[in-house]
């Protein structure tokens, strides 16, 4: 009995010790975040996380109240400008030393001594000198202010009877300003492209009018229907852009969210526009940059990806935000899908209603309208390797590019781009045969053809002597055979 009692403290001690040993939480946490790519056959291939959630912040964290349906976000250097649309304000935050700090709240602007307030701001653009352009949606205008909120100019509905009806309401939603001070605006119910304004606010015209989605069956239907029926039908209208962003060189990246589900590829949901408004996006990947190429309809989420925002990193990789399945799709400058991640939910790394994406360096910031949250994502080791490989290839350092791709392969053997990347680097190093092997492995027939063409040329140049010898020998053999036959015949005839 006494012995048995002695055991009790031992057992209690052991129980306490067991409490101290906690299961590792981190590994379980990262599993919630699903990153994938597609292979040639449109099969989803799981991939290591390229971006990991660093932090999720809410308006309350800065003692300024929750964000109420924020619509837009702009990031310049280490400043974040969040259009807190429902609260009629723009919140400026500073991100420094892995911490956000509250800078100021923009509610009122000084218009020549008169104080005006902004109503439901949808978007903001800040120039390098700190001048701000605010899409003052509720006041039907765009306000241009200096960094101290003194109004420098205002843009109202342009006087243009040809393209704008008298009852048209100018609701600017998204805007960017290029280095020359031209303002590109996506306004509600404008389907002729982006409205372009001069530096001084003068309306110039439209750029990048999206093509009309044209269907022959619809056209035929229209042809045979009566006028009353025709009025009932939807008009052939060009589709409407839904967001706009600038890359480091000043090209416009535009996203398009309204198209028929079965015409994603022809709709070109992401475009890069030059000054003339033509689409110059490079699309060299297995698939067009359209988001998900293979998707199921179910759970209330149907149809293809619908992009609602895009951000372009300094290395020309661009990240598109899919508002349909709440995912982020990363593409390199050639239009190859680097990785996709995200999802629907309340967890970290999932989104309820993401509306805007921005970047600071190579970290991504995603603004969620429903949750009023800013999610910061940072590159993981794997993501860094991919970026390094792309960057070194771009500057012509093919040796190290191949090395980086080999390291990526160690982390993800299913990564097609790594094989092709190694192949491309080998091709530049004139190792055609090895390059062909890598391209063949991942069915990249265009690059394979390039490598093969050079290989074939090299082979023929190396073996030209043998080829000629064989041809000469053949000719001689045929000649001898003929003469022998002729002689025989002559002999026989005699």
């Amino acid at each position: 009995m006494k012995k048995a009692l002695n055991i009790i403290p031992v057992i209690t001690l052991m129980l306490f010790a067991a409490l101290l040993i906690q299961p590792k939480m981190a590994s379980a946490e990262s599993d919630l975040f699903y990153t994938y790519t597609y292979d040639y056959w449109k099969l989803e291939r799981e991939s290591p996380d390229a971006y990991a959630v660093d932090s999720v912040s809410f308006g309350n964290d800065f003692k300024i109240g929750h964000f109420n349906n924020p619509e837009g976000m702009y990031i310049r250097d280490n400043m974040l400008y969040i259009c807190d649309t429902g609260n009629n304000r723009v919140v400026q935050l500073k991100y420094e030393n892995d911490k956000y700090s509250f800078v100021r709240e923009i509610r009122d602007i000084n218009n020549n001594g008169k104080t005006e307030s902004i109503v439901t701001p949808y978007d903001i653009y800040v120039t390098s000198s700190g001048e701000m352009y605010i899409a003052d949606y509720g006041n039907l205008r765009i306000v241009h202010t200096d960094s101290n909120l003194n109004v420098l100019g205002e843009i109202y509905k342009p006087e243009d009877e040809e393209t704008l009806d008298a009852d048209f309401q100018f609701h600017p939603q998204k805007l960017v300003v290029d280095t020359a001070g031209r303002i590109f605006v996506q306004a509600e119910n404008v389907n002729k492209g982006f409205m372009e304004f001069e530096n001084d606010g003068e309306f110039v015209g439209y750029v990048g009018a999206a093509d009309v989605q044209f269907d022959f069956v619809d056209y035929f239907k229209k042809l045979i229907s009566t006028k009353a029926q025709r009025d009932q039908m939807e008009a052939f209208v060009p589709t409407e852009y839904n967001n706009i962003a600038l890359d480091s060189e000043g090209f416009i990246y535009a996203t398009l969210g309204t198209f028929e589900s079965d015409s994603v590829e022809s709709a070109k949901p992401i475009r890069k526009l030059n000054a003339k408004g033509t689409d110059i996006l490079i699309r060299n990947g297995y698939f067009e940059p359209i988001g998900d190429v293979n998707y199921a309809n179910g759970g209330g989420y149907n149809g293809p990806s619908k992009f609602c925002d895009v951000t372009v990193l300094d290395n020309d990789c661009y990240y598109c935000l899919d508002m349909n399945r709440r995912r982020v799709f990363g593409y390199d400058f050639q239009g190859n899908l680097l990785y996709a991640f995200g999802g629907i939910g309340y967890r970290e790394g999932s989104f309820k209603y993401p509306v805007a994406i921005g970047h600071m360096g190579d970290s991504l910031f995603i603004l969620d309208k429903d949750l009023g949250s800013i999610t910061k994502l940072t590159l993981t080791e794997y993501g860094k390797l991919i970026n390094e490989a792309l960057d070194t290839y771009k500057i012509g350092d093919y040796d190290s590019s191949a090395d980086y791709w080999r390291q990526v392969l160690k982390l993800n053997g299913n990564y097609d781009l790594a094989y092709i990347g190694i192949g491309r680097a080998l091709l530049r190093q004139d190792k055609f045969e090895e390059a062909m092997e890598y391209f063949k492995l991942k069915l990249d027939y265009k690059n394979y053809s390039k490598a093969y063409k050079l290989y074939r040329k090299e082979w023929i140049e190396d073996h030209i002597a043998y080829i000629f010898t064989i041809i000469v020998i053949l000719i001689v053999v045929v000649f001898i055979k003929n003469t022998v036959q002729n002689i025989r015949r002559e002999v026989n005839e005699e």
């Binding site: 056959w41 394979y448 053809s449 390039k450 063409k453 074939r456």
Partner: protein, 221 residues
């Protein structure tokens, strides 16, 4: 039953070789060739079978050995039987439909002639596509126009030979041949429809007996 002797085998192979070689003449001068094929007994069923088998093999080899620059196959989803059937079934339905309808249109050919003529018309497919499999491995994507040109050329040639075979074997005029080909195509659809109907009824009937058996067996156990 004839005895199989060494000389008879040799004679058969001789005849086979000669009739097979005749297909080369057939495809370059089809009007002359298809007439003699049946009327002068210059063709043989053996050679026709050989051509059909070669066509099947060509379609399969095409998938297997063509450079991936032109054809990429997801082997997990590749069904060789389905592949054979997609050629063989339409071919035999064509022959059958051809025979059914041309009999009504006073065609001269019997089933054997029609089969032989149709099989000989496949010769360009084998003759062009088989070498093109090899060639495809030595050309690049940019030179692909050359490759696809030859492929479509072989198909057009075959189509033309099919027309010629209908004309010559049944002794039709050009207009009548075109008309009968259209009818044959419609007839093929009818045959397919009947086959589907037959199979669905048949499977229903089998299902009926299976359920009957089940009911009875439940009674006893």
């Amino acid at each position: 039953m004839k005895n199989i002797t060494k000389s008879s085998v040799k004679a058969w192979f001789n005849h086979f070789g000669k009739t097979l070689k005749y297909s080369l003449h057939c495809i370059v001068s089809p009007f002359d060739g298809f007439w003699d094929l049946t009327h002068e007994k210059r063709g043989s069923i053996g050679a026709a079978n050989f051509l059909v088998i070669m066509t099947i093999l060509t379609t399969i080899w095409k998938y297997r050995y063509t450079s991936f620059v032109f054809i990429r196959v997801q082997w997990e989803h590749f069904n060789i039987l389905l592949n054979i059937c997609t050629f063989l079934l339409p071919f035999f339905i064509w022959v059958l439909s051809n025979w059914c309808l041309t009999t009504l249109f006073d065609g001269k050919g019997n089933l054997k002639d029609i089969y032989m003529g149709s099989a000989y018309a496949l010769a360009p497919y084998v003759l062009i596509q088989l070498p093109m499999i090899v060639v495809s491995n030595f050309v690049t994507y940019e030179e692909g126009a050359f490759y696809t040109y030859f492929l479509s050329f072989s198909m057009i040639w075959c189509g033309f030979l099919f027309l010629a075979s209908v004309m010559q074997i049944h002794d039709f005029t050009f207009g009548k041949a075109i008309f009968s080909i259209l009818c044959i195509l419609v007839g093929m659809l009818v045959i397919v429809f009947l086959l589907v109907l037959f199979f669905s009824l048949f499977s229903d009937a089998i299902a009926y007996f299976i359920s009957l058996y089940k009911e009875i067996s439940y009674r006893f156990y």
